[in-house]
Amino acid sequence: MISQVFILSSKGDHLIYKDFRGEADKDAVSVFFEMVTALSGDQPPVVMSHKDLNFIHVRQGGLYWVASTKTNASPFTVIEFLNRLAALTKDYCGSLCEKSVRMNFALIYELLDEMVDYGYIQTTSTDILKNFIQTEAVTSKPFSLFDLSNVGLFGAETQQSKVAPSTAATRPIMSHRSEQGGKNEIFVDVVERLSVVIGSNGVLMKADVEGEIRVKCYLPTCSEMRIGLNEEFSIGRSQLRGYGTAVRVDECSFHQAVKLDEFDTYRILKVCPSQGEQTLMQYQLSDELPCAPPFRLFPTVEKDYGSRYTDCDLPHTQKSSTALNVSVTVPVPKGSLSLSQELSSPDQTAELQLKNKAILWSIPRFPGGAQLSALFKVEVPSLSSASLLEVGPVSMSFELPKQTCTGLQIRFLRLSPTQPGMSQRWVRYVTHSDSYTIRI
């Protein structure tokens, strides 16, 4: 059971504090913050103890979400609860940041009051909670220049009118009560996280995909939704389904509410989505990618009178889609002084980060099938041949919209009964890099 729940900003301001059992002092909050800021890099922060009080916390949206308990509770439960609290806060407030929590603290108190009683979790389901939550969310300015930079996130380049801007999904679920909101929309996102290691010889050493199908629902009522996946979708290694376009995953798990009676034959998921965000299905694929890894790197490293050249060629193998927010981190030897670079286009930037001993090369847009190259010249005094060892693995982070690595697609999305009026359905795909490492 949970004694207290509190939310702190990254600077330690108290945003939310609720004591459920009266067993612990309010001082616990400052004790926690002192402990968490005093931790050294290698100490695990997730669970900390002070006297007989245990603190469990998660970091989300730059905030500390903390629960304290005096019992030896299940860590999975408490961590999942805090994650769920953060997710609900995001659902109700629209976005997750210090500002939105500050503005909606009354709402969050109300949520907490219904979610937990005397330290015991009562319910976290949006369907039940929405009957009890009365406070309306205060959103920060709905449109700002900052949001504009994200508009292209889900590939808005051609069909502006047909594509939902990314901010559409970051509004509070309850806003239909107010006059300005009230669009009946449902978003189905297929999100995959890719973690890849490519060896120095170009061989794919590790490739894991963690994927999920998420639904974000703004429909006030929706009796049933049917989501059709690829018919060739197979789970596990033994199942072989013909040739060609089979989509395979290793493991797959579903949300409790998903009905699977048509899944075996037709690969249809049936669900009655509740308002807010839900993960309907999670799947993993390891050690195998049905397509080539999206990026390869052909580096050459040369030494030249106390300075050093790195030449990076970076071809993008996925022809169909444009990668966004690509950043490449190239480690450099200790003691590097300065960097001069030759990049292929002006929107790219590269900088030498001395603190991290690395060059950060960022590419805002990377068209499919293109090949970019860059030449970095780093000045390193007292360069030895061994220093080249330090030019360690290059890591990349990127986003690939409209793309799934497993090939999972949503064939159709049907709502029944058909929603009256203007209900809109959006299906979006995106692949993120969880960790994309290329050894040199």
Binding site: Y17, F76, F105, Y120, S286
Partner: protein, 753 residues
Amino acid sequence: MPYFGSEETVKDLKRALSNPNVQTDRLRYRNYIIRVIRSMTQGLDVSSLFMDMVKASATVDIVQKKLVYLYMVTYASRKPDLALLAINTLRKDCADPNPMVRGLALRNMCNFRMPGITEYIQQPILSGLRDKASYVRRVAVLGCAKMHSLQPNTEIDPSMVNELYSLLRDPDPVVMVNSLRALEEILRDEGGVVINKPIAHHLLNRLKDLDSWAQSEVLTFLLRYRPRSNDELFDILSLLDDFLHSAHAPVMAATLRLFLHLATAHPAVQADALLRVHGPLLATCGSASRELRFAGLCHVQQVLRSQPALYGNHYKRFFCGYSEPGYIKFRKMEILVELVNDENVALVLEELKSYCTDVSTELAQAAIAAIGRIGRTYNEKCLDILTGLLALKQEHIASAVIQTFRDLVWFCPKSSVAVCKAVEGCDESLQDDEGKQALLWLLGEYGEQISGAPYVLEGFIDSLKVELCSVVKMELLTAAVKLFLCRPAEMQDILGRLLHYCIEEESDMCVRDRALMYYRLLQSGVDETRKVLLGPKSDPSMTVLTGRPEEPVNIWASSFNTLGPLCGTVACLENTSAENSVQQLHSAEEKDGAEEFKLSPPEQTLRTEAIEEELSCIADAAEELNLTMGPPLSHEAFERLWLELQVAHQQALGIPRPAETLETLQAAFQLVKIQTLAFTRTDAVPWKAYMYSRAGGTLILAELLQGAPEESESIGNLLVSVKQQPENQQAIRSFFSVLTNVLQTLSSHGSQN
């Protein structure tokens, strides 16, 4: 943190709240109340507004009501007299036709933590228990627990307990789970809610209707139930089967724990469960939430203690992600070291090698140490990597490599040739104390094989004046004397200078004493010195811990899905002072063991450490089974009781008496809260031991007896007789399981060595 000008703020708020214009304007009124709550959260003392807030509670605006209640609950204990004024409004709300209002009022009324509130809440709670809205019943059920906690020492109302037990059959799942929770709290002194066969099966059947939070909690409650027969056990296990694959990590973990617990006597079933759950557990290790990932990794580590082979093929899942925080990377490296086998060693080493140049010093050093651990089994490959790293000439890397070398040659003396070759000429890049100590130790130990050793030492001696760390100086003394014994010609002069400096000019007592000791030792003759310093050491290759012995699942099963694995070695729940002192003793011993690692015969240290570690796990279990030592029992009192009481239970354990010393046995039992009173001599036949413990209000006396050895050949069988006052079968069962666990642990270690 009080803000500057806080009094002004409170005054402003007070003025605004009592302003009739504000009170009539609903939105403005609510806004001011929001400001009060905001100040309260920030730590401002707004208790002086209590009166105004009580007035504000009489409203139809439910949002405002909720905010005011939040305020009142926070300050009720400080203003009990004013809080009583609010009770009337709340009691009126408890009779509201809207169930939401009823529930809200009842919940908050029960949350007032102040003396004297009970008389006002008793009636509303009782009527709430019979309310037709499940929302109100949920609140009322937990209200019973709250009421009990307000007056902990009063009699428990049996009619309320009965009512709560009957609410276990409530159609609403949350009411059912809340009744369990409330009963657990109310009956805590009697050992918590009773899970008998009908209740257990009722809970199991309802499990599917519950949401994931309630499921994992009910599964935890079910840990208390012991099936009567094997048939029942397997029925339960097959019911639980689906939940092992639950998409919710908490349910999966709770089910696995229950599985392991129920199948204590069936290791094959446990192994099968672990095998089947490895997929979901791996999925948590790759979850989007870092904290969940961490929890998953810690639990994988536990599973690996018993089944090291289970994750061998999935080693790539434990490669560190580029953006992961340090604490996850450390865990992953620890796991990688455990997973290494002939097939994956090359790839794992390549991966670890790429971490060695990481920008984080700690991470790089941990990666180097991990390579060293693997090097105990896969010697050559690791030595190549480590030697290559020395060429980087970076302080923190060199230091970590040298320390790893030191540990490696201790375990694998055969690697000394390569190490000696690598060590030459890396002294310039060492700056930190630990690295210097390690280098000095290597120079002293293998000085013969390192041609430049005397010159390196000379360098150290030249800079002695600026050396601050006394441990480095002591290590230097030892190394110089050792080296002198094998290379006297080169060292004589250097050693003379060192001893002179340390005796005449050094201000640190320890260093001076050490120098004097070596000086006198040398005076008594070189042969004597050699005998002392280079005397035979224990054979370390005997203790190479390649592939730790697989531990039985039961040793860690009880701490699965608790905070224990996440806290690492630090015991996170120390409640009783008795346990504290044991713990302190325990950790002090451990520290000694670590420091004397090189001096004492290592197998002894390692073995006791391992035993202690396992025992502390059982100790956790013992805590859960509520064994306590209680006040000490005198020998006379024990004897009197023993003669008075009948034997309550007698059982042959099927384990021989552990071959440990009596002190070890006694310490082991103490750790699990069993006090030993008397032993016969070790070689006596029959061998007897008397011990006692307390659990759930009863006193348990026990006798261990091992008959004459010719009776049962070489394997003596321990016979345990237990007497008890007053009767409590459950306590005896838990006592037995703890006792068996301890003896098993001890005897398995005894037989290994």
